[in-house]
Structures are given as structure tokens and as C-alpha cells.
């Protein structure tokens, strides 16, 4: 057996000249990870292309059929593509680190795991806001074209309330996906859960409310989709906000908290 001398001070790492990795750098790296793989890039492109396609189809239909629409109609129809794909983006942001096992490298370069999650969270919000900006621009173009092509006057009925509600809607969609992903740490499971939550559950809740009296009274408190309804047309009242907060707590905060606790503890394989 070799004598293992007690380590002297000379062997200690000198950390005085290294500063901790700044948070902004982590955010930039996480942002880069969203588009530097073919899958990620295609998801971003699909979101943009689908949004544009939705608008073009809408524009051609309303012009051909001579329908009466306004700026807000154009904007809200993009909700279709964005509410569908932004959450998927939010999910893959987190789960791809697990399925591709890159979490091992990520967490060994930055062991402060909550910071990594926070950086991903921020990237998610940033992408959602960017998507809304693109939607606003596309809607402006479409509405202007509508004014030119159809016999109708273009109606610019855009209020701060609408835009704020729309941004909130998209950010929440993205974060719900993110929360499900944190909870399950598995892409297919999180995507299925999100799709069921956003397409299937509202119908079931509606059915339950129609059949059962007491369920009808608790529904606003537990149905997050339902609670977001007034956001779309900017008619949130005080009570709506309370419903929004409570159901949001159930669907957003709880899974996120459980998920983050799990990630912080997890053995990364």
C-alpha cells in the first residue's frame, strides 16, 4: 500500500479566479440547443410554416367567400398552430436532455441544476413571446391584404387586452407542456398527456358538467382550459382570475414543482 500523504494546501484547486457561470450564458446555450439539431430546427420551422399556412388559408377562404373578419380574427386563428406546437417545443426542451442522455454533460458542466431548469424555462417563455410577435406581424399582413383584396374595409380592432391575453395564453400553453415534461421526463408520455389535456379533457369536463350538478360547480376551479377561455376575448373578471389561478395551480404549478424536485434529486444516467 502506498503512503497517502495528507493533502497539503498546495493541492487545493484555486477557485479565486473563476467566476460561476453567468445565468445569461446558460440561457444562451439552452436557446442554441433548441435549434441546433435537425429535429429542433424542423419543429421551429413547422411552427412558423403552419402558422403562416393557417393565415393564408383563412385569408383565401374569407376573401373567396366574402366573409366579414377583423384583425383579431386573424390573430386568434393562429392560436390553432401555436397552441399545438409551442407546448411540444416546451416538452422537448426538457425531455430531450433525458432521452438523448445529454443531461449528464449538461449537469456536469453546471451542477446547479435549478439554474439549468430556470434557463430552459426562460427559453420557453422567450420562444412563446417570439411566436406571438411573428403571429402579430403575419396577422397585420393578412389583414392589410384582406383590406385590399376583399370589398371590405380592414378592421384593426387590436387592444392591449387582446395582445396581453394572447401572449399569456401562449406562454401558459408552453409552460403547461414544460410542467408535464418535468413531471414525466419522457417525450411521448408528456406529449400524449398534453394532447389529452388540451383536446380530450375539455370535452370530458363538459360532459361531466352536463351530467352531474356538483361537477358543474367545481369545473371552473379545476378545468384550466376552461379558465383560459375569457383570456382569448379579453373578458377576464375578478372571479375568472381566481378560477384561473386555482386551476393553473393544479395543472401548472403542482406538476412543475413535483418535476423539479424529481430532477434535482435524480441520478442522471
Amino acid at each position: 500500500m502506498s503512503a497517502t500523504a495528507a493533502p497539503g494546501l498546495g493541492h487545493a484547486l484555486d477557485l479565486s479566479s473563476t467566476s460561476p457561470t453567468p445565468f445569461s450564458r446558460l440561457v444562451r446555450v439552452e436557446l442554441r440547443k433548441t435549434w441546433d439539431t435537425r429535429a429542433g430546427l424542423w419543429l421551429l420551422i413547422s411552427t412558423a410554416v403552419l402558422t403562416a399556412a393557417v393565415m393564408v388559408i383563412q385569408l383565401s377562404v374569407v376573401v373567396a367567400q366574402d366573409l366579414d373578419v377583423s384583425y383579431n380574427d386573424f390573430l386568434t386563428s393562429t392560436n390553432f398552430s401555436m397552441a399545438l406546437l409551442l407546448p411540444v417545443l416546451g416538452i422537448l426542451l426538457l425531455t430531450s436532455e433525458w432521452s438523448q442522455r445529454t443531461a449528464m454533460v449538461t449537469f456536469s458542466l453546471e451542477p446547479r441544476r435549478p439554474l439549468i431548469i430556470a434557463a430552459k424555462f426562460l427559453v420557453g417563455i422567450g420562444l412563446a413571446v417570439a411566436a406571438v410577435v411573428i403571429a402579430l406581424v403575419l396577422a397585420t399582413i393578412c389583414n392589410a391584404l384582406y383590406g385590399l383584396l376583399s370589398g371590405h374595409e380592414a378592421v384593426w380592432d387590436l387592444g392591449l387586452g387582446n395582445v396581453g391575453g394572447f401572449v399569456l395564453l401562449q406562454v401558459i400553453g408552453m409552460l403547461t407542456g414544460f410542467a408535464f415534461a418535468a413531471l414525466l421526463l419522457n417525450s411521448p408520455a408528456a406529449i400524449v398527456l398534453y394532447m389529452v389535456y388540451s383536446f380530450v379533457l375539455p370535452g370530458l369536463f363538459g360532459l361531466g358538467a352536463a351530467l352531474i350538478g356538483w361537477f358543474d360547480t367545481i369545473r371552473p376551479w379545476i378545468d384550466f382550459n376552461y379558465a383560459q377561455g375569457p383570456l382569448v376575448d379579453a373578458t377576464m373578471t375578478g372571479e375568472d382570475w381566481v378560477h384561473f389561478a386555482v386551476s393553473g395551480f393544479i395543472w401548472l404549478v403542482v406538476p412543475l414543482a413535483i418535476g423539479v424536485a424529481r430532477v434535482l434529486r435524480a441520478e442522471v444516467k
Binding site: M1, S2, T4, P7, H11, A12, L13, D14, L15, T18, S19, P20, T21, P22, R25, L26, R28, V29, R32, K33, D36, T37, R38, A39, S96, Q100, R101, T102, M104, V105, F107, S108, L109, E110, P111, R112, R265, E267, V268
Partner: protein, 300 residues
């Protein structure tokens, strides 16, 4: 330097790492040797905070890994070269590492040159890399931040012979400049050539540690010599006359004594030797012996 103190990691009732303590000194290459499933990777994962220990702790340069700011600049880690996004290019993988550590992109080209990955190869996606190329990329990633401590899990896996020789030189140079190097392997010969210190682990427990010479000194079957002479017969008789045990082995003889005694005898009788060396089986035997109750195959 790396200090492991009383490290234990259990999975349910199974103990993967059992009260392991050792020290890796700066300026030396420490080889971490053990058969498959001995607990090498688990120990290394605990070092970098990816696996929480059941008990015990590991400090690197006096700090817990979690407490090292920007750890990539101090500790280079390669645990599994395949644990990267298959859809990223090699260059992009280094780019992400460099950005996280706050390094300039020129560092990436330096590292690619160092591990002999060409520009064209670096633009391929990881799923199209061969095992050895992934390994080179992983080593480049570990060296990116110019760390003073290197933790490498089976770095020679998949490398071609030239690559293994290159890596040996690289790590030796690293240690000579004062770096601390810990590398694991399940191949004795690999570690034997490169490591100054060796830690043998079997079944989660350390079975021996020390430098090569002190390990050999304690090993059963040490002090044998292989020798080949122009006239093996004459040499054999001369050695037997001195009371050494001689047996024929291949083209030459195996003598149960130090090479120096064999050389002296040959010189005394003016016998021409064509080969003289210590029978290397000592360490191999030691390795198999020490880990035999943990070996998958029964050692005859």
C-alpha cells in the same frame, strides 16, 4: 487532487460501491482498474455529482464538485462518449461546451486538432461517428476548459492502436505539467503502461492500491524471468546448478528468480542471451487473483 473518503453507494440491497477511499495525487496518472461491473463508473459519477452517494464523500482539490464554479474549467469529465445528442454535429457539441464555459470558438479548433478529428469529420452528426471517433470527441470535450483535473471513464475504449498510444502520451504530459489524471479501465495492460498509481477494485471494494512496483512486490508469483539464449540447454544447466527452478517456456526458459540473477549466470558462463525480461504474469495473476471472487469467469 481527488480525495475519496468512505464512499458507499447502494441500489436497494445491492452495494455497487462499498466504503471506497483513495487519493489521486497531482502530477501522477492514477489508474482505476477492475472487472466489468466492479463499480468504477459509479464511483466516478459520484465524483461529479451525477449520482448521489449513500454515504461518504468526494472532494476535488478540497471542494465538493457542486461547489466548484464553472467546473468545466477545473475538472475535465468523460463518462460516456455516447451520451450526446445523436443529431448534433461533433463541432456543435464542442461549441455548446465552449459556450457554457465561456471559451472562444478558436479553442474548439485547437481541440479538434489535438484529437485528430478533421474539419470535415467534425461537421458530421454524432450518429454517424464510429466508436473511436466518439471517444476522441469526448476527450476533446473533457480537455476543452484546460482543466487541472481529468476524470476519464474507459477513455481507451474503441481507440485504434495509434490512438491509444497518442492518448497515453497526452495523459502523461498532462500529469507531468502538474495535472491530476484519473482513468478507469478493465484492461490491466492498458493501465499498467500509463499509470503511476493503480487502484484495483472488485465487487465495489478496493482490493489493492499503490504503484506498480509495490503492487508487484506483494504479488504472488513475482520474481520470475523469461529468458532465451542461443544455447538454452547450457543456460538451463548453469541455472539449475545454482539452485534456481527452471522450466522450459515457449522458445526459452522460465526461471524462478530475478532477471539480474539470470543475467549474472549467463555472463559467468559467457552464454549469449537473445531475450531477457521479467515474467509479466505477476501483475496479471495478481489482478485475477485479487478480483477472482468477483470475476465472471472462473479463473483456472
Amino acid at each position: 487532487m481527488i480525495q475519496v473518503e468512505g464512499l458507499t453507494r447502494k441500489y436497494g440491497t445491492f452495494t455497487a460501491v462499498d466504503n471506497v477511499s483513495f487519493v489521486c495525487q497531482p502530477g501522477r496518472v492514477t489508474g482505476f482498474l477492475g472487472p466489468n461491473g466492479a463499480g468504477k463508473t459509479t464511483t466516478m459519477r459520484v465524483m461529479v455529482g451525477l449520482t448521489p452517494p449513500t454515504s461518504g464523500r468526494v472532494t476535488i482539490g478540497g471542494h465538493l464538485y457542486q461547489d466548484i464554479p464553472n467546473p468545466g474549467r477545473h475538472v475535465g469529465v468523460l463518462l460516456d462518449a455516447s451520451a450526446q445528442h445523436a443529431g448534433r454535429t461533433g463541432r456543435e457539441i464542442l461549441e455548446l461546451g465552449a459556450r457554457t464555459m465561456g471559451l472562444s470558438s478558436s479553442r474548439i479548433d485547437e481541440m479538434l486538432d489535438l484529437v485528430s478529428l478533421s474539419r470535415a469529420e467534425s461537421k458530421r452528426r454524432l450518429r454517424n461517428y464510429s466508436l473511436g471517433m466518439k471517444q476522441r470527441l469526448g476527450i476533446a470535450h473533457a480537455l476543452l476548459g484546460d482543466p487541472s483535473v481529468l476524470i476519464l471513464d474507459e477513455p481507451a475504449n474503441g481507440l485504434d492502436p495509434a490512438g491509444i498510444r497518442w492518448m497515453r502520451g497526452l495523459l502523461k504530459g498532462y500529469a507531468e505539467r502538474g495535472g491530476t489524471v484519473l482513468l478507469s479501465s478493465h484492461l490491466l495492460h492498458e493501465v499498467e503502461i500509463i499509470a503511476d498509481e493503480m487502484i484495483l477494485i472488485g465487487h465495489g471494494r478496493i482490493v489493492a492500491q499503490g504503484d506498480k512496483k509495490s503492487l508487484l512486490a506483494g504479488a504472488a508469483g513475482s520474481g520470475s524471468t523469461f529468458v532465451t539464449a542461443l544455447d538454452n540447454r547450457q543456460l538451463s544447466d548453469a541455472l539449475a546448478a545454482k539452485g534456481f527452478v527452471v522450466a522450459s517456456a515457449g522458445d526459452g526458459l522460465r526461471v524462478e528468480t530475478e532477471p539480474v540473477e539470470v543475467g549474472r549466470t549467463a555472463a559467468e558462463h559467457s552464454i549469449v542471451l537473445t531475450d531477457l525480461r521479467a515474467a509479466d504474469g505477476g501483475l496479471e495473476d495478481l489482478f485475477l487473483e485479487l478480483t477472482s471472487d468477483t470475476q465472471r469467469e472462473v479463473v483456472a
